[in-house]
Symmetry: C2
Subunit: 209 residues, 2 copies
Amino acid sequence: MITHLPLCSIQNPKMVLLIGGGDGGILREISRHSSVQQIDICEIDTMLIDVYKKYFPGIAIGYEDPRVTLHVKDGKLATTRNAFIKSVPEGTYDAIIVDAFDPIRPDHELHEGPFFELVAKALRPGGVMCIQAESIWFPSLDIEHLTENGVIGFLLCSTEGQFVDFRNPVNPLDPNNSYGVAKEPLKFYNPEVHLAAFCLPTFAKKGMN
Amino acid sequence: MITHLPLCSIQNPKMVLLIGGGDGGILREISRHSSVQQIDICEIDTMLIDVYKKYFPGIAIGYEDPRVTLHVKDGKLATTRNAFIKSVPEGTYDAIIVDAFDPIRPDHELHEGPFFELVAKALRPGGVMCIQAESIWFPSLDIEHLTENGVIGFLLCSTEGQFVDFRNPVNPLDPNNSYGVAKEPLKFYNPEVHLAAFCLPTFAKKGMN
């Protein structure tokens, strides 16, 4: 979902950046999108990569896509020396997927720093970001606070002043022609679950508009 | 969901039977439907009822609806002496909700007996049944087998030869006028989650048509 929600919402995505997601599973899913020409992944944890390649080859298979370039760096600004996102030329990416935060620590430092500003700059106008975020079922969840700070379920954004109709994907995946390196059809994602992803229980709508 | 999915799918439900559900939570939700005139509940476990009344009054509050009649009997046929469902006159109910099976034992005896035939007889033509069923996430789930045997998520049925459009509820709840004995608005159910309940991941569609 973290992959197809954003990539199916824009026409013809070519340049994709993944921050985190070192296991390779999201790479595998990006690989299903035939319009994509370049997939950059910025991951700091090489041991994670090695462990997945050794023990979870079905997930790490994402690295086998020839469009993938691995940047072993910190994706965020905290470690200034390795701040990958800072080095990205303005307007480079059609989509940026962030899978680097601890979902049960929504007040993680990243949410307070200039990280999201840098992501916005790295996107072309009308480009999109998707970030894994909090679950509505997390017991102590303060949804109002989280949405103010930008995290619930998945958060989908586009650059300022650009409307992207995330609910109605303009770029659906052909289920029979989107295997990529996964070599098998999609197991979960389809246009119906895309739609359903935006149907929230009443209690979870509080604080949204 | 087990309550509003069926009751919002038919016009003007008046007679409702709940089999199991002794905790009172489903009664509380049925209570939100102002068209309902009679709510019968058939529960065998009086200790369950007492425990919920003592320790979970917010759930057991469903019993405070004056339309409720408690039948302390076995809802199923296995204990013939107490077979409540067998005693129901043909065509009595607009809706029957079944919350009496162990959801991780889908091959429970009830699924093999004449229970569902008796339920169908107890419903008026075009009446509906909703039963709690298996989760698509249960690890060893054989969806194909379960749908053949009639269990996944919630199973919604109507009587033979009658079409009920469960996806598009004809009888939506007014969120501001459906408190019933709950004395507060719905926290979860709304028309969007009703719709989303029918959006299944690709792997879960296997075996359905």
